[in-house]
């Protein structure tokens, strides 16, 4: 009964995603997948930048780690052996690949998180940015990772349903964390580190946890992305991508899960809708950002969730 409740979002989400996938024309599917991946990235970066108030600028680096790991795994698993159902084999291989990607990305998160703990604000941003570039340059110089051109010919495993489930999982995990003592501890680090420590919060552990968790989901986003574009290349993971995700988090409001989700969706769709504008696209995009940040300097929702701003004060959160 309890497990049913814990898995309820997925039980509801899965049929809905299937329906969307069946109904969506291919052009829309591309946008949906991009949007879903961006939701994963924004919500996961929000765990570090929003919840704990640290400034990570290397999310694409963790994405890359997850993406290359997942790609290597699916390529190594190859096609289904004759006596296997291809459906089962493919989805099994992909599940394994994504989990593998999350794991290596999490380890990378740990490796970057621990030495960066003494840093704050701009300094942490610079170090994580540096990590992002190191990863990219490392990959470019590794023949077995395809070097600068990358690895093509990945199996087309990613679908709207897969991305949707990934986004759902990211949001559910983020929600349940903030709704628990663990999440409140993360928020307290953002609010006032000295006071958090005095209340018994292990702020060092909090920061590491947030980093690791956030990196794991960035890895998931990376794995999903490359099995849609069927190519994994270092160009997808430059710091420009990291900045793009930071923009989503800032725009959504630091710490707001619904804000990050909405910002990821809005920005993805806005970019697509402006495709007809050709070279003016990026100008319009920047203009949109400027206008939004001027009208809502703390993000669309500030640190609040949508439902906290709408409607009457709720008595108790039902997570």
């Amino acid at each position: 009964m309890r497990l049913v409740r814990a898995l309820l979002p997925f039980a509801v989400g899965l049929p809905a995603l299937w329906a969307i996938q069946a109904a969506a024309p291919p052009q829309l599917a591309i946008i949906l997948v991009t949007a879903g991946v961006n939701v994963i990235l924004a919500v996961s970066l929000n765990m570090v930048n929003g919840f704990t108030g640290q400034f990570s600028l290397g999310h694409a680096g963790f994405m890359a780690v997850g993406a290359y790991t997942a790609a290597k795994i699916t390529l190594a698993m190859g096609e289904a052996p004759a006596n296997w159902s291809p459906w089962l084999w493919n989805n099994g291989a992909f599940t394994l690949a994504l989990l593998g990607g999350m794991l290596t990305a999490a380890l990378a998160g740990l490796a970057v998180g621990i030495p960066s703990l003494r840093l704050r604000g701009d300094y942490l941003a610079i170090v994580t940015l540096g990590f992002n570039e190191i990863i990219r340059v490392f990959i470019e110089n590794m023949r077995w990772l395809g070097g600068a051109t990358g690895i093509s010919g990945l199996p087309p495993y990613t679908s709207v349903v897969w991305v949707g489930l990934g986004a759902l999982a990211t949001v559910v995990v983020a929600r349940r964390i903030v709704g628990s003592t663990h999440g409140r501890a993360l928020l307290s680090v953002r609010e006032d580190e000295v006071a958090a420590e005095a209340m018994g919060v292990d702020t060092v552990a909090c920061k590491v946890h947030a980093f690791v968790l956030s990196a794991a989901f960035a890895g998931l986003g990376g794995g999903l992305l490359v099995h849609y574009i069927l190519l994994v290349t270092p160009k997808s993971f430059t710091f420009v991508k990291s900045i793009e995700v930071v923009v989503m988090v800032v725009l959504g409001g630091m710490g707001s899960i619904s804000g990050a989700t909405l910002a990821a969706l809005v920005l993805t769709f806005a970019l697509e809708l402006m495709r007809g504008l050709d070279q003016y696209r990026m100008v319009m995009y920047s203009l949109l950002l400027v206008v939004l940040m001027l009208s809502r300097p703390t993000g669309i929702f500030g640190t609040k969730e949508i439902w906290e701003l709408l409607g009457p004060k709720r008595k108790k959160a039902a997570a």
Binding site: S180, H182, A185, S188, E191, A198, D202, R314
Partner: protein, 266 residues
Amino acid sequence: MSDVVLLAKNVTMRFGGLTALNDFNLELKPRELVGLIGPNGAGKTTAFNALSGVYAPTEGTVSVGGEVVNGRRPNEISRLGLARTFQNIRLFKKLSVLDNVRLACHAKGKSELWQALLLTAEHERREAEMEKRAFELLDFMELSGRADEEAASLPYGMQRRLEIVRALATGPKVLCLDEPAAGMNATETAALMKLIHAIREKFGVAVLLIEHDMRLVMGISERLVVLDHGVTIAQGKPEAVRKDPKVIEAYLGVEEGHAPLDPEKA
């Protein structure tokens, strides 16, 4: 368990050439209410910071509940039973009043992360327990009516009380309050002093209370420790301390008006 909940032995705290606290000694028994007083810049907050682990003492030892805590981080010291408030109020401003308190309850029985993710029965029971405890404490301090509000939106006096609730929520043996009455008017201050006395009775904690206005703590403290320029110039029963010539001298001209509020150095 020893029957000394907080022990400071020859604690000295230097900042470069400045000795902010010099050879500080203190022994706090369970349920004792001790006032730590002294004029501005006497080293009271520095003493708190050295006791609670914000600073590592330059010299001397601090023990909480019989355990030496030198070099331990503040969060560990908090778990050993020392809770504190801050002179300049350091609430988690954007969190709700309830969350400020719930957060501090976490040391006692929080569930594992995976349990939070899977919404296990144990997780929900613990969360419910924390919420219940938080509400009990808020009730006691007459704050539960504003549980859902953002901490920063509370009026000043309530913020001070919320800080005390939050410290209590950690389940301490010693409660250290740094000028909890700062910025309050005479009526509020009197009510607060009564409340502090009641807290000691109800929760059975020892209280170390900083106040630079000696008269405020006279009534409720069993013992006073007087600091001046980092040096402990007097110690003992309030009546005796009040008559001590060194104390009178240190306080001359200070006792009457309230000194302006410091922007703090916690």
